[in-house]
Every structure is written in structure tokens, then in C-alpha cells.
């Protein structure tokens, strides 16, 4: 029986959802393949985290050391590479998160194991793993296989698997000593900073009118503000609008911005990158306006309008004002 490894992601004492999602997928694969699940936890004073994982894996390998207090991709890489060398797991799962994006490629080069990133499913055929992922902003799907190596690394997109428990597990805890000598840190943690603080809290809004790249020019945002005003709604946006400094970061919906849960979310000129959609999963109803009928947003939205936003938005606004008057 071999082990599927899941690298535990946690921050500020809390286990990140991606950890539970990876453990769910690892559990599912393990049941089908008669493998076991090993969670690998690095950190300092992590006993409560270990406790929360105790029924999610068959084995929990813990490196608890002061030098692991903050995430450091190099230390993680060195320690996990050593563990891989020792135990030769067939599959190692890491989150496709800010931290995973730094760790996984380094680990791939260090160990020589192939890597597929940002995957949305894992299949197993004839004892070999294959990963499903998206290209071209979700317009194309791809199945990726791996060269004949002792194992492979897969990073998993957040939010694609359930956070639930799967199977009956009781983790055997294995405490390991910090295995490295002579560390010369190339990077030092300074602090966490809040980059999305502001006057308006879009997470509390009942109605969001959200604008994306399709708006074209900064001055056109007035059109969206007028629609939001007619509806007594709040304006929000996708990343490209913040990147261009047209609206402040605290109005951004998505992975690096806010997760919102309005009754109605109106997405205008937003193509629907998964990073954006990750922030809209709590929305009651999503109505999307986009001129590209193949835009990924229409796969998630409840209602869609395929039209030039500059033509349809003024008509929508007039109709709303008319209805409110009547």
C-alpha cells in the first residue's frame, strides 16, 4: 500500500479550506486504489491543527519547529524533498494557492518529479495518474499525463472539491525532528498587511453591480455606477479594473479580493476567470452581460444576456427607473 501525500496549508493558526479539499480528493483516490492518505504538516505549535486533521488522514507527519513558524518555500521544499526521497509517494498534492505556486515548482526541480499545476481533477488509469486542468481562461480543458517517474506533483485549484470527510480514518501521528542543518535563509518574513481595506464593504451588499475588462475605458465606469444607483445597489469589480486603478482594491471580487454573497450579482463585461468566480459562489442569483457567448461566466451564471454592454446597460437602467416610478 502506498501513500498519497497532502501538504497541509495553514495560515495564522487556521487550516485553509484547500487542505480539506485536497484531503477529500486524496481520500477518494485512496479508496479506489487501495492507497492510504498521509497529511504532511509543517509549522510551529501546530497541535490544534493536528487535532483537526486527525480523522482526515491515515497518517499525519508533523514537523513542529520554531524555524517553521512562518511559511518559507525553501524550508518546506528541503524538508518535503527529503521526505519524498525517503518514502517515495506516488502522488503529492499541494494547493494551487499563493504558497503552493511558490513551493510546487521549486519542489519539482529539486526532486525531478513532474508537476501539473492548478488542476481541477485527478484520474487514475492503469496505475498512473492523469490530471485535468484548464487552459485559455477556461475555454479549453486538457488532460495531462506524467513521464515514468517514481511519483508526481499536482497542485489543486481551490474550491473544486468538497471540504467533507471521506471514509473512516484515524491518523497515526508521526513527529519528526527538524531535519536540516546549515540553513542560510534567502528570504525573511516581515509582516502580513491588509491590502483591501476601505469604506465600502461589498461582502454585506444585497445587490452588486460588478464591472470587468469589457468596460474598455475608465470613463465608461460611470455607466455601471448609474445602473447601480438606479437599483440602490453597490458597485464591485473584477481584477483588471483594480489593476488599472479605475476602482479601489476593496471593491474587487475574487480570490485575491473579497468573497461576496449578495441576493443578486450582476456581472457586466466580466469574462469569468475562475479567480473571479471563486468570489461569487455565495451569490444567490448571478446575471451576466457579455458580448462573447463563449465567455466562461455563462457557465456559472443563472441568467445571461449576450449583447454589447454599451447598448443594453442604458436600456436596463431606463427600464428599472420606469418600473420604480410606476
Amino acid at each position: 500500500m502506498s501513500d498519497i501525500f497532502v501538504i497541509v496549508e495553514h495560515r495564522l493558526g487556521e487550516i485553509r479550506d484547500i487542505t480539506f479539499e485536497m484531503l477529500w480528493k486524496a481520500g477518494e483516490l485512496a479508496e479506489n486504489l487501495s492507497h492510504s492518505v498521509t497529511a504532511v504538516l509543517l509549522g510551529h505549535e501546530v497541535s490544534s491543527i493536528a487535532e483537526d486533521l486527525s480523522d482526515r488522514a491515515d497518517q499525519l507527519i508533523i514537523y513542529d519547529d520554531e524555524r517553521l513558524k512562518n511559511f518559507d518555500a525553501d524550508l518546506y521544499k528541503e524538508i518535503i524533498a527529503g521526505l519524498i526521497e525517503e518514502t517515495k509517494p506516488p502522488l503529492i498534492l499541494i494547493g494551487s494557492t499563493s504558497w503552493g505556486m511558490e513551493l510546487a515548482p521549486c519542489l519539482s526541480i529539486k526532486t525531478g518529479l513532474p508537476l501539473a499545476t492548478d488542476c481541477i481533477d485527478i484520474m487514475s488509469e492503469h496505475g498512473r495518474f492523469m490530471a485535468q486542468r484548464q487552459m485559455y481562461n477556461g475555454k479549453i480543458f486538457a488532460n495531462v499525463s506524467f513521464a515514468e517517474t517514481p511519483g508526481c506533483l499536482i497542485t489543486i485549484r481551490s474550491g473544486v472539491f468538497p471540504k467533507d470527510k471521506i471514509g473512516d480514518r484515524q491518523a497515526q501521528k508521526v513527529q519528526k525532528d527538524f531535519p536540516l542543518a546549515d540553513i542560510k535563509p534567502g528570504k525573511a518574513f516581515v509582516e502580513f498587511v491588509e491590502t483591501a481595506a476601505g469604506d465600502v464593504d461589498i461582502t454585506q451588499a444585497d445587490l452588486l453591480v460588478s464591472v470587468g475588462r469589457g468596460i474598455g475605458e475608465e470613463e465608461n465606469i460611470a455607466l455601471i455606477k448609474e445602473l447601480a444607483e438606479a437599483l440602490n445597489g453597490v458597485v464591485s469589480c473584477s481584477r483588471p479594473i483594480v489593476d488599472k486603478n479605475w476602482l479601489p482594491k476593496y471593491l474587487q471580487v475574487g480570490t485575491s479580493g473579497k468573497s461576496v454573497s449578495p441576493k443578486v450579482y450582476i456581472a457586466i463585461g466580466i469574462s469569468g476567470a475562475f479567480q473571479h468566480l471563486a468570489g461569487t459562489s455565495g451569490a444567490g442569483t448571478i446575471i451576466a452581460v457579455n458580448k462573447d457567448p463563449k465567455a466562461p461566466i455563462f457557465r456559472t451564471a443563472h441568467y445571461g444576456i449576450v449583447d454589447d454592454l454599451f447598448k443594453i446597460v442604458p436600456v436596463l437602467k431606463d427600464k428599472i427607473l420606469e418600473a420604480k416610478k410606476g
Binding site: 499563493s98 515548482p105 492548478d118
Partner: protein
């Protein structure tokens, strides 16, 4: 301050119907327009801003065929001092690992305090080139960076985490940094600017010159098949003339209780 920036030419695919190629390994590209990858545009701008403030050089590198030189010309027009293209034909035969071998083969012989790549490329979205290179070249690193300040022998970076959180770090030079969009406002490049930059150095190297063999470039992650997204129920489309659409729209909003 010598800065090397790795860039990629990618197709524009928004509002385009993509067609799968006959081998089902990629998409047909002959009808697509190409641009400098958005993340790389921010990366080259950041390098030029640092150079303008602290002096030094900016070198832009890409791997590909002659068509890919177009993005290097753009980098030169923005203010890069020189550019290098590694002639490698159609790069879709390589995986990220192969591209990293090639880029590292060039970068290892260049003076560099900083190496920049974009966080990811808009086409295949693997997002692994930068950190793989950091490991391959044994460089310190910082990932998904939205702010850089140069200090003596080190840089202070802010990395983007989830949920509006940033992580500030000190990274000792030489270092590789992956640049996130929004870090700056990339400058406009005119046709005239590109023409003027034509006299800047654009060196072409080949794999033999770098001493890289085909075996070293054998892909480890292999695309078996690409396909269109599986059909989902999708959105219920509001159709008809604009007035009818707007009427249906208001009806939905009323039903959902947000037309107060």
C-alpha cells in the same frame, strides 16, 4: 542593477472561438492575434522603472521562433537595453520544465541582480516557470509580487495572498521575482517607438550554442488531449429585442426581492 526579464508571446483569446487542432494537443493558432503576455508586460515595466531609478541594464529574453521577436521589439521600445531570443521553433513541444532549462541556460551567463517573470502566462496558465528557474539557478525568490522596493543588497517585496492579504518579505539578491498584474501602469508603446528601437541589440541564440540536448528537454508533463469544456446547463439566456430583455431583467430582479 542588472535585471533580466523572461517574456512570452501569447494569443488573444477573449471573444474568440477557439478551435482544437487535428492532433487534439492544442488550439489552431493561425487565425489568432498575438500579444505580449499581460503579466510579462507588468514585469518588463517594473524592470524599467527600477532601472530608471537605480541605473543598470534590462535584458528581455524569450524562447521561440522569429514571430516571437515581436514581443522583444516591444520590450526594447518600452526601454529594455537588449533582447535575446532562443531559436527553438514551435515551443508547444516543450513543457515548462524544458522552457526553464532553456531560459536558465541563457540567464546563468548574464549579469543579473534580479530576474523577473510574470506570475503566469495567459495561454496555458501553468504559472511555474519563475519558481522553477529560481530553483534551477539557485536564486532567492518571492512569488506573486505586487510591490518591490530596492534596499542595499536586498529587496522588500509584497506578495499577494488570498482574501486581500499581502505578505511583506525581505529577499536577498540575487533573486527571482514573479510579477503580478497591477504592480505598476505599463507604459504605452507606439509604432514609432518600436521602429526607433529597431537599432537596439536583439541577439538570436540556438540550443546547440547553449549546449542543451534534446534529451534534456524531453517533457515530463505531457498533454494527452485537449477538448472543449464539457457541456453544462449554463445560464438561461434572455433573448429578444433590448426592451424585452430589459423587461425580463426587471422581472427577475423583482422576483429576487432587490427592486425596492
Amino acid at each position: 542593477m542588472d535585471i533580466v526579464v523572461c517574456v512570452k508571446r501569447v494569443p488573444l483569446t477573449e471573444e474568440v472561438d477557439l478551435v482544437i487542432d487535428a492532433q487534439k494537443k492544442g488550439v489552431k493558432k493561425d487565425q489568432l492575434a498575438f500579444v505580449l503576455n499581460d503579466w510579462d508586460n507588468y514585469a518588463i515595466e517594473e524592470a524599467i522603472l527600477l532601472k530608471e531609478k537605480h541605473d543598470g541594464t534590462v535584458t528581455a529574453i524569450t524562447v521561440g521562433n522569429e514571430d516571437d521577436e515581436e514581443v522583444l521589439r516591444r520590450c526594447l521600445a518600452m526601454g529594455a537595453d537588449r533582447a535575446i531570443r532562443v531559436e527553438a521553433g514551435d515551443i508547444s513541444k516543450f513543457d515548462s520544465f524544458g522552457i526553464v532549462k532553456i531560459l536558465s541556460g541563457v540567464v546563468k551567463d548574464l549579469p543579473r541582480d534580479l530576474v523577473f517573470t510574470g506570475v503566469l502566462a495567459d495561454d496555458d496558465s501553468y504559472g511555474m516557470i519563475g519558481m522553477m528557474m529560481a530553483e534551477e539557478l539557485n536564486l532567492n525568490h518571492s512569488c506573486m509580487v505586487t510591490a518591490i522596493e530596492l534596499e542595499d543588497g536586498k529587496v522588500r517585496t509584497t506578495s499577494e495572498l488570498e482574501g486581500g492579504l499581502g505578505e511583506v518579505s525581505i529577499v536577498y539578491l540575487p533573486a527571482l521575482i514573479t510579477i503580478q498584474t497591477g504592480i505598476n501602469e505599463p507604459r504605452y508603446v507606439s509604432i514609432l517607438g518600436i521602429r526607433k528601437a529597431a537599432k537596439k541589440e536583439l541577439k538570436v541564440m540556438d540550443l546547440a550554442e547553449l549546449g542543451i540536448s534534446d534529451e534534456e528537454l524531453a517533457p515530463r508533463a505531457i498533454i494527452e488531449e485537449v477538448y472543449l469544456p464539457p457541456e453544462t446547463e449554463g445560464a438561461q439566456m434572455l433573448t429578444g429585442d433590448p426592451d424585452k430583455i430589459a423587461g425580463d431583467f426587471v422581472e427577475i430582479l423583482t422576483k429576487k426581492g432587490v427592486m425596492e
